[in-house]
């Protein structure tokens, strides 16, 4: 029976491949959205539950720009990222700055409050329905890789994740802003006394984090659909990614996203009736073994 076993093998290969691609795409979307959260949490030590809300704002602006204003996809991404940063900067200045160094409970309360406000406003302005961001022609169809065809938007999400990881690595490791940022993460008081204006570093990295969240919200809109309760639904996922990877570590966040993306997608394919049971079991196991995250620094 060489044919039957060959077919079975082929089928298994197909499943493994499609699970692998889906897991990679999902992991990369998670990475783009939550890397900003990881950096700001490592830097400012704020448990920011409102991060998903900024990803959602980005998605809504992009949806509005493409659907109502009829702008192109690229322009919409740019408009959404800039728009979200414009919304987020005063929020940082007037609300977040009050809770730097505050107890965790206070931070949780404040950021949940911000999330509720954003959900309520989004619900009022855009309505409770699901919003779509129409993809450009080039990303709509499948792409033939020779041995298999893959949805183009998934490849695009993977490419965006790789690009963001590379750009962030360059920004943090190779620029003078990166040096200041790393110094502030390691020891904010010492960095300040050496002349680093930590408040500006905080504000800029917050803006970058929010911009990345908005970008990830748009790129991942096919996988994590935009609706008012987006901010609450995925809040936990983003927080889990940061904790598993280790706050402030880019390679850690990347590793956590790929690992958790793989576990979640495999669970959905093979044991859908268990929901997210194995995802959270894995989270507990990892956090118990690595309390500071996979690649978190000892403080």
């Amino acid at each position: 029976m060489p044919d039957a076993s060959g077919l079975l093998l082929d089928h298994t290969m197909q499943t493994v491949l499609s699970v692998g691609i889906d897991a990679l795409a999902y992991g990369m979307v998670l990475f783009v959205i939550s890397i900003g959260l990881s950096v700001t949490m490592g830097l400012m030590r704020v448990v920011n539950l409102a991060h998903g809300a900024f990803a959602m704002i980005g998605g809504y602006i992009a949806s509005y720009a493409t659907q109502t204003l009829g702008l192109g996809y690229g322009v919409a991404i740019l408009a959404a990222v800039v728009g979200t940063i414009i919304i987020a900067v005063p929020v940082e200045r007037f609300l977040y700055r009050r809770i730097y160094g505050a107890p965790e409970l206070t931070q949780v309360l404040m950021t949940i409050g911000i999330t509720f406000c954003v959900i309520g406003i989004a619900n009022y302005v855009f309505g409770p329905t699901l919003k779509t961001i129409p993809l450009p022609e080039a990303l709509r169809g499948p792409v033939d890789l020779g041995f298999r065809s893959i949805a183009a938007h998934k490849l695009f999400a993977i490419a965006c994740g790789v690009a963001v990881a590379g750009a962030l690595w360059y920004l943090i490791e190779r620029t003078s802003f990166g040096v200041k940022l790393r110094a502030s993460v390691d020891n904010a008081a010492m960095a300040a006394s050496l002349g680093v204006r930590t408040r500006i570093v905080y504000a800029v990295s917050f803006a970058v984090a929010v911009g990345l969240a908005a970008f990830g919200g748009i790129v991942g809109a096919e996988l994590l659909p935009i609706e008012p309760y987006y901010a609450l639904r995925y809040m936990v996922t983003f927080l889990v990614v940061v904790s598993v990877g280790g706050a402030g570590s880019i390679p850690g966040a990347l590793l956590a996203c790929l690992l958790l993306g793989a576990i979640d997608t495999t669970g959905r394919y093979l044991l859908p009736e268990y929901g997210e049971f194995f995802f959270y079991l894995a989270v507990i196991a990892i956090v118990c073994v690595f309390p500071r995250g996979l690649l978190g620094r000892r403080s």
Binding site: I112, I114, G120, E276, F277, V287, C288, P291
Partner: protein
């Protein structure tokens, strides 16, 4: 606040004790008076008041671990839901329909869940602790969803028909018995928790919150003490869950949700952590406000609740009760 306590403890013990006792009795009287006022003011809304009392038990139990021990948790509904499902399953599948027995089963279920989740959550600190607690409540949620033969899955567990309390007071359509039962449970829980938090064990917990390393150096077991408090907290939350199961006669998956955990924590911080009164005040004001605003304006209620939370952080960081105490303290000092 701190000033008052140091002066009263500086006095001889005999003089200090009646002062405490008087204050506690006064607090109890206020709770009973508020319960009675609620009964006569909102006779058509007793179901909401009973629900508030059930959640109040959950918030009290969070206060035990968060306010008194300093453990941050966003997954305490796991204990509440475990109690609710334990008493519901006992009633539906095992024929235990006596309400008092159901409460005992609920407390036991909550305590067992407290051991399990405490053992996991206490392994982490800070962010890791929060994430572990979130993972625990999701794990419980998925497990209850999967075990639908016992829990009814996403349809909920229905068909709970509790007997009359003491064989005398049947649960009526108006919810009068359920409300009286709920008030009695909350008052008993309040008295027991008052005794526990005043006991040497309660003081040890406060010490751990202030400085765990020092407590360890004194020779006390930090993890063991915290786990004990988690079991007590689980029993209280389980009683709340059982009360909810008895009064609504149905248990849904939402009683094991992250949303309920987060809301309950918000209520606690709103009222003020580290004080049983703060927990009660936070629950009543948050749930009343939520009900009022969502009825008045269903479109904006979440925005208004969010704005309220931000305002509390900015203007009353110690919670409603803590800020009120600080104001009274300042007023007294300037009066002298």
């Amino acid at each position: 606040m701190a000033a008052i306590e140091t002066t009263s403890s500086a006095k001889p013990g005999a003089a200090a004790r009646p002062n405490w006792l008087m204050r506690d009795l006064l607090g109890l009287a206020v709770i009973l008076a508020v319960a009675a006022i609620g009964y006569f003011l909102f006779p058509n809304n007793l179901a909401l008041l009973t629900r508030i009392l059930g959640v109040a038990l959950l918030v009290l139990s969070i206060d035990l671990v968060t306010g008194f021990c300093g453990v941050a948790t966003l997954g305490h509904a796991a204990l509440f839901g475990a109690g609710a499902y334990a008493s519901g399953i006992a009633a539906v599948h095992f024929g235990i329909t006596d309400p008092l027995l159901m409460v005992v089963v609920g407390a036991f279920g909550g305590a067992v869940a407290g051991v399990v989740s405490g053992a996991v959550i206490l392994r982490g600190h800070g962010l890791a602790q929060l994430v572990l607690s979130i993972a625990v409540v999701h794990l419980f949620h998925e497990a209850a969803n999967k075990a639908s033969a016992y829990t009814g899955g996403s349809d909920g567990l229905s068909g709970i028909a509790p007997d009359p309390v003491f064989g005398l007071f049947a649960f009526d359509l108006w919810g009068r018995t359920a409300y009286g039962f709920a008030v009695a449970l909350v008052v008993i829980a309040f008295v027991v928790l008052r005794l526990i938090t005043r006991s040497p064990f309660g003081m040890l917990c406060r010490g751990i919150k202030e400085d765990p390393i020092r407590i360890r150096a004194m020779g006390a077991s930090v993890q063991g003490t915290l786990l004990k408090m988690y079991v007590i907290s689980g029993a209280v939350a389980g009683v709340g869950g059982a009360l909810n199961a008895i009064s609504t006669q149905v248990v849904g998956l939402d009683s094991l949700s992250f949303t309920l955990s987060a809301e309950a924590l918000v209520m606690l911080v709103l009222g003020g952590t580290g004080s049983l009164y703060g927990a009660l005040i936070g629950t009543v004001s948050f749930m009343w406000f939520e009900d009022f605003v969502s009825a008045a304006n269903p479109f904006h209620w979440l925005t208004i609740v969010g704005a309220l939370l931000i305002a509390v952080v900015l203007f009353a960081p110690r919670g409603l009760y803590g800020t009120a105490l600080a104001l009274v303290d300042r007023f007294r000092r300037t009066g002298k």
